[in-house]
């Protein structure tokens, strides 16, 4: 499951010393390797969890309630975790935002939207049952409310992007927030957890604006209602630029809002969480000529690639299974040394031709032939 994390900064010195000593006694393995051989739930560093409840919210959206091992450190609202599930013997790791604030002694909640071909998300929808053991990471991510809460807040979310913001709303309720909050949410047909959003907003005296692009299931075209634009946000919340912006939704909308804040010279008041890469990756290789080559030094293989396919999917199509996690550039499990070649980071658009550079396979596409230490 997830790699042993570094020694906790907030663990007591005694615990740190004991942990270091146990590591020495179990080298080159870890104390968890032996503890879990006795009982799967006994861990020091590794975070594991048990599913305690599964709730189907709306059609494609499922909430998993997880009881984490005691070493799970309280998360800050807005953060995400890596969830590892084992399906037919194969571990699959994906990132999900926690959709509730941390409540001591209470299960964690992940709210997951099933999408086509998504192994973990469809497992959550169709197969997850109470009692199942899963792997988890500590909460991570910088998409969190500042220690001192801003007077005025603006949340903008799209689809399942509401999950980190819902956790923040719960945290605001818990903190007795007295400032002003506007929350604009856009979705296609119906909103999961709408009642909960409403309750939070009511408790906070906040304004909730919901924008549906396809109000009926039978007429599910974007043409029916136009997409939510930055202009819509600006007209809905005229004092938007005065507010601290937290957003998680479509890239186009987030880019446009960032530009608006830029123009108002408020760029440092924008916080965002990205779900997935900017452009969908090609996963099937074309047979046409002009394919690039991907040279894998350790496995002594050369694979055919096409511009547009991520290095990870090229390697997988070639029959390899390099370690990877989130497939969206977050967890760094797939980090690998690129010996030479030019690649583009699909998250940032940055092009790099540096030799011997550590790159994440899942978010880089080749522009030239590429040699990897794989």
């Amino acid at each position: 499951m997830s790699s042993p994390s570094a020694t906790h900064t907030n663990a007591s010195p005694l615990r740190r010393t004991a942990s270091a000593f146990l590591r020495t006694l179990t080298y080159p393995h870890t104390p968890d390797d032996y503890l879990q051989a006795l009982r799967p739930s006994w861990t020091l560093d590794r975070v594991v969890a048990r599913v305690v409840d599964v709730r189907h919210e709306t059609g494609d959206i499922t909430s998993l309630y997880l009881e984490p091992s005691r070493n799970f450190r309280p998360h800050r609202a807005g953060q995400h975790v890596l969830l590892t599930v084992t399906l037919a013997g194969v571990d699959h790791t994906r990132c999900f935002s926690l959709s509730d604030a941390y409540r001591p002694g209470q299960p964690l909640r992940l709210t997951i939207k099933a999408h086509e071909g998504g192994r973990v998300s469809n497992w959550a929808k169709n197969a997850a049952r109470a009692g199942v053991r899963v792997g988890l990471s500590q909460a991570q991510g910088e998409f969190v409310l500042p220690e001192t809460l801003p007077e005025q807040l603006l949340f903008v979310s799209g689809g399942s992007g509401l999950t980190p913001l819902l956790a923040m709303a719960h945290a605001l309720v818990g903190a007795g927030y007295r400032g002003s909050l506007h929350w604009i949410h856009t979705d296609r047909t119906e909103v999961a957890l709408l009642d909960e959003m409403r309750e939070c907003c009511a408790a906070l005296g906040a304004q909730l604006h919901v924008h549906l692009t396809a109000p009926t299931a039978t007429d599910a075209t974007d043409a029916h209602n136009p997409r939510l634009t930055a202009t819509d946000v600006a007209s809905c919340v005229p004092d938007f630029a005065e507010r601290e912006l937290f957003m998680c939704g479509p890239f186009g909308l987030m880019d446009a809002l960032t530009a608006l804040y830029d123009r108002a010279d408020r760029a440092d008041h924008v916080h965002h969480e990205a779900f997935g890469p900017r452009s969908p990756f090609v996963t099937k290789l074309p047979t046409a000529d002009g394919a690039l080559r991907l040279v894998l030094a350790k496995s002594r293989r050369t694979l055919r690639a096409a511009p547009g396919a991520s290095l990870l999917s090229i390697a997988e199509d070639g029959g390899l299974n390099p370690p990877h996690g989130c497939r969206r550039g977050i967890c760094h499990t797939c980090k690998c040394t690129k010996r030479h070649g030019t690649v583009r980071n699909e998250l940032t658009g940055a092009v790099s031709d540096a030799p011997d550079e550590e790159i994440r396979l899942c978010i880089h596409t080749p522009i030239t032939d590429v040699a990897l230490d794989l």
């Binding site: 393995h29 194969v90 370690p323």
Partner: protein
């Protein structure tokens, strides 16, 4: 070409015996077995490895715990035995096989061939080069595959003889008992460095991470665990030593039975020129030998008892080798490729025979041996028995 076109070739002892088309057909049949088996790899294999890991770790915990109470003699014996068993499982059925990438499909970063670190002083990174690459590519090519004699033993007539080779039986026993250190040193190619054929900087670059790892393992087994036992420290120390030596002797024996029993072929560089996939497969089969025995023996050897299948399919989960062995053997029989195997006792005896035979200088006359192997063998057997007795007396 269909199978019936291929006449059985009982004395097909040289690669020339099969022509290009036959070698291609041979490769295609072996490839088909591989593809059919790999298509099945999944849940069952993951469960096998996870169950084995749990068993290995529990065995190790039990062994180390028992040794803490080593002042009770039966507990010392049980502890050393369990710890030796656990180490053999970790190194052979788990470590060696995981490092080949047999379980990469599981997507567990800690059980990935590129990341797993094993309880063996040779760092995984270096092992992947010297073993997965050099040994598995250049199997039994004298001068290329450094596993031929581990840079210490003369296993073939083409290897140079010096008067020091006369002490070979002593080196062999030493290598057997300290095999972990021997393999680590063999990776450094210290022998080449000492004779100036390898730059010292290279040895240093490889040696540093190895020393760091070896130091941690030595401290664990010979300082920290003994100290935990307080007054029982000497007993934990000797128990750990016994476990490590037993594991070393076992690993050495299994590995030498894999490539050096009587009849296993050795090659020179010329066999690599323009070698096709079929010829490579042929060399892997003829350059390896299996050990026959019950299932527990296969598990304890890390399924290296199926050395032939392992060399054909190094990244197939090893516990599946017994499933494909019959088919592989049938294919080999059809193409006249020698598929060798024997009981552990027999393979050990003939491997030691090879070590002892090459203690003396001289080249064997290959034609003579082929023409009349039987009398030669019995004559040799007598001399081997004598030499073995001598060797063990010296070791004791």
């Amino acid at each position: 070409m269909t199978h019936s076109d291929v006449a059985p070739r009982p004395q097909a002892e040289t690669p020339d015996a099969l022509d290009e088309a036959q070698l291609a057909a041979f490769a295609a049949e072996l490839d088909a077995i591989y593809q059919r088996t790999m298509a099945k790899v999944g849940e069952e294999d993951a469960k096998y490895l996870r169950d084995l890991l749990r068993l290995q770790r529990r065995t190790e915990l039990a062994g180390r715990t028992a040794l803490q109470f080593g002042f009770v003699p039966p507990l010392w014996l049980a502890g050393a035995g369990l710890l030796g068993l656990a180490k053999a499982l970790e190194n052979m059925e788990i470590g060696h096989n995981v490092l080949h990438g047999q379980y990469d499909f599981m997507g567990d970063p800690e059980l990935h061939g590129g990341r797993y670190e094993w309880d063996w002083s040779c760092p995984s990174e270096q092992w992947r080069h010297s073993h997965n690459y050099l040994h598995h590519t250049f199997t039994n090519v004298v001068g290329r595959d450094r596993d031929v004699g581990y840079g210490l033993l003369r296993m073939h007539e083409d290897q140079a003889w010096t008067p020091l080779t006369l002490l070979q039986p002593v080196y062999a026993v030493g290598l057997m008992l300290a095999f972990e250190a021997g393999v680590a040193v063999h990776d450094l190619e210290l022998n080449l460095a000492l004779t100036g054929r390898k730059p010292l900087e290279e040895v240093e670059a490889l040696g540093k991470p190895m020393l760091r790892k070896a130091a941690k393992l030595l401290l664990k087994d010979y300082v920290f665990f003994p100290l935990l036992a307080g007054p029982g420290a000497p007993l934990v120390f000797t128990g750990n030593l016994a476990a490590n030596v037993a594991r070393n002797a076992w690993a050495f024996s299994v590995i030498f039975c894999g490539h050096f029993p009587e009849g296993v072929e050795m090659y020179d560089d010329s066999s690599l020129e323009g070698e096709t996939r079929g010829a490579w497969y042929r060399r892997q089969v003829a350059g390896s030998a299996n050990i026959e025995g019950p299932r527990w023996l296969h598990v304890l050897t890390g399924h290296l008892s199926h050395q032939i299948e392992h060399h054909l399919y190094p990244d197939m989960p090893a516990w599946r080798y017994p499933q494909v062995a019959d088919e592989v053997q049938q294919v080999c029989a059809r193409y006249g490729v020698p598929y060798r195997g024997g009981t552990l006792g027999n393979q050990l005896r003939t491997s030691w025979a090879r070590i002892l035979r090459h203690t003396l200088p001289g080249r064997r006359k290959p034609e003579a041996e082929k023409a009349s192997p039987a009398p030669r063998l019995s004559r040799m057997r007598r001399s081997v028995r004598r030499s073995l007795r001598r060797a063990f007396r010296q070791a004791a």
